[in-house]
């Protein structure tokens, strides 16, 4: 149906529905911003319009919360996740796509199982084993665990991409005397940049937002990632809501800016996984 085909009366109904749902979608964000700009005494009176403008909350954030630590840790973990995912996953996907060996499909299915395994099935064993190895309470551990979880999905996505590569380019390279390593590194990988970008974005966001493992494994504020740090604030009688609001705004700015800049790619990257199963 096109917009022009709708009678005016129904157009009005549709616009009303749209505006209603848009208000509901946007209100929490608006409230958050208002909250973050409020004076402490007024924080319990805010509904939908500003009560005052108190920028100092954004300064106090760094005094009252270890937000800088959270950011640093989250960035390191996310970068580790993306890097390891690509460095370890892309070659594996390439091998599955273009090599021929005996147990290939069996091995692939083993990896595919990983896509179906939820974090909940991993948290208890990982917690117990990592605790025994004294690797808990360290965001670097997450930087290794996260990519391990993401590998299955990365290999799944990258394999189908590598399978569709033009055979003639590769044949030309073979004729020129390139071995498989060179072909992968110098030809296949650069060609796969769009798929890699998609994978990288997905894994970065996933690692950035991951909650269950981060909350369970990390205990010291200095080690926490953003989700764990913000959530633990809740339990600690942290009543300075405007400052908490400022922290939440600051944590979300990054991803919202990325979203607004990349819109279509962002949405596509996040949703294609659901359809490819």
């Amino acid at each position: 149906m096109q917009w022009g085909d709708i009678k005016i009366f129904y157009k009005l109904i549709i616009i009303t529905i749209l505006i209603l749902i848009a208000i509901i979608s946007l209100y929490p964000f608006m409230y958050l911003i208002l909250l973050s700009l409020a004076k402490f005494e007024n924080s319990f009176k805010i509904i939908a319009w500003p009560v005052n403008f108190e920028i100092v909350n954004y300064v106090n954030v760094f005094k009252e919360i270890d937000l800088l630590y959270f950011y640093r840790n989250s960035i390191i973990v996310a970068i580790m996740t993306v890097t390891i995912n690509i460095l370890v996953g892309a070659p594996a996907a390439y091998a599955f796509a273009r090599f021929k060996f005996y147990f290939k499909e069996v091995l692939y299915v083993v990896f595919l199982l990983g896509v179906m395994i939820p974090g909940q099935a991993l948290v208890i064993p990982l917690f117990l084993n990592l605790k025994a190895l004294n690797l808990l309470n360290n965001y670097l551990t997450l930087g290794i665990v996260y990519p391990s979880i993401g590998l299955a999905f990365t290999i799944f996505i990258m394999r189908s991409f590598f399978e569709n590569l033009q055979q003639d380019i590769i044949d030309a390279a073979i004729v020129d005397g390139c071995d498989q390593y060179k072909i992968f590194w110098k030809i296949a990988l650069p060609l796969s940049r769009p798929a890699l970008a998609s994978v990288a974005l997905f894994q970065f966001i996933w690692a950035w937002d991951e909650y269950l493992l981060a909350f369970t494994f990390l205990n010291d504020e200095s080690m926490m990632t953003i989700p764990a740090g913000l959530a633990k604030l809740q339990g600690e009688y942290f009543t300075d809501y405007p400052v908490l609001g400022a922290a939440l705004v600051l944590s979300s700015l990054g991803i919202i800016v990325v979203f607004l800049l990349t819109q279509r790619h962002f949405i596509k990257g996040l949703t294609e996984g659901a359809v490819k199963g």
Binding site: A95, F96, P118, Q120, I124, I149, A152, D209, T216, T271
Partner: protein, 287 residues
């Protein structure tokens, strides 16, 4: 031999990481579910005791029921909202691109941020929702929301749908854009009005995609954890307890890792079955 070395180098690292951290954990999980362990000393082998205990566990069945309630709401309310939004956006009016982004925004932001903000909004005594209702003269509609055992689950589901409806909308939108314009045109030439086109042509053609969205939301409803953990922690009085939060509570508050692994194993089985069905349907759709 060169080929074997190649395979080792290309797949080896992935294999090692995956086996050591993921597969081993899953197997260990299943192993633990047959034991009783508090984390100290040695695990005690109890064979099926945990599973029998689970079967008789009232709280387990309540948690599972809550998962099902969330799932049903996803399959009905959320699906309908997402479908309405997708159809409207597909009409291509002037602000449709902007609207699409607006509705997707709740999906973009971290779930922790969403949980904390909504916990504040739904605060019974001084959260903006109740404040707004009171000031509009609708004071009788104010509730304890997350603090009321009868309403807490509904409130959580409300927030959950708020968060995810944009995602379903995008999936359905992709399906809508794959419907050939010629069929719509043909229907219009045959004299169908807008409503008839939507109900008799568009939606039937969307059936495969709708099925995909339904399966996705089923899997999603069993993965729910951060939102509930932040909003209610499973309370009040376990009225929002789901399998995940129950498992978490048993493991990390009661230190009953064996029993918790049992719950985790059941969850694993549910997820694997759902994922396999999801995959089969997607393969069928993509034929």
């Amino acid at each position: 031999m060169n080929k074997i070395k190649q395979i080792f180098i290309f797949i080896g690292p992935a294999f090692v990481l995956y086996i050591a951290l993921i597969l081993y954990s899953v197997i260990f999980n299943i192993y633990l579910s047959f034991h009783k362990w508090s984390g100290f000393g040695n695990p005690k082998f109890v064979l099926f005791n945990n599973y029998i205990k689970l079967f008789k566990d009232d709280l387990f069945w309540r948690s599972l029921a809550h998962n099902f309630v969330i799932m049903i709401c996803a399959l009905t309310i959320m699906l309908i909202i997402s479908l309405i939004l997708a159809i409207i956006i597909d009409m291509g009016f002037h602000g449709s691109g902007l609207s699409k982004n607006v509705f997707f925004l709740p999906v973009v932001v971290s779930i922790v941020v969403i949980g904390l903000v909504w916990a504040r909004i739904l605060e019974p005594s001084n959260g903006p929702l109740n404040l707004a209702l009171s000031s509009l003269g609708l004071g009788s509609l104010t509730q304890k929301w997350l603090g009321d055992p009868n309403i807490a689950l509904g409130s959580v589901i409300g927030v959950w749908i708020w968060r995810h409806m944009g995602y379903g909308m995008i999936l359905l939108l992709a399906g809508l854009q794959n419907i050939p314009k010629s069929i719509i045109e043909a229907a219009k030439i045959d004299g169908a009005n807008a409503w008839e086109v939507i109900t008799k042509v568009t939606i039937p053609m969307l059936r495969p995609i709708i099925l995909t969205v339904m399966l996705w939301s089923v899997i999603l409803s069993f993965k729910i954890f951060p939102l509930i953990h932040i909003l209610t922690g499973g309370g009040p009085y376990h009225s929002t307890e789901v399998l995940n939060t129950y498992m978490y509570r048993v493991a990390f508050q009661n230190y009953n890792f064996g029993y918790a692994s049992t719950i985790a194993t059941i969850l694993l089985i549910i997820m694997i079955i759902s994922s396999v069905i999801n995959r089969k349907v997607n393969q069928f759709n993509n034929r």
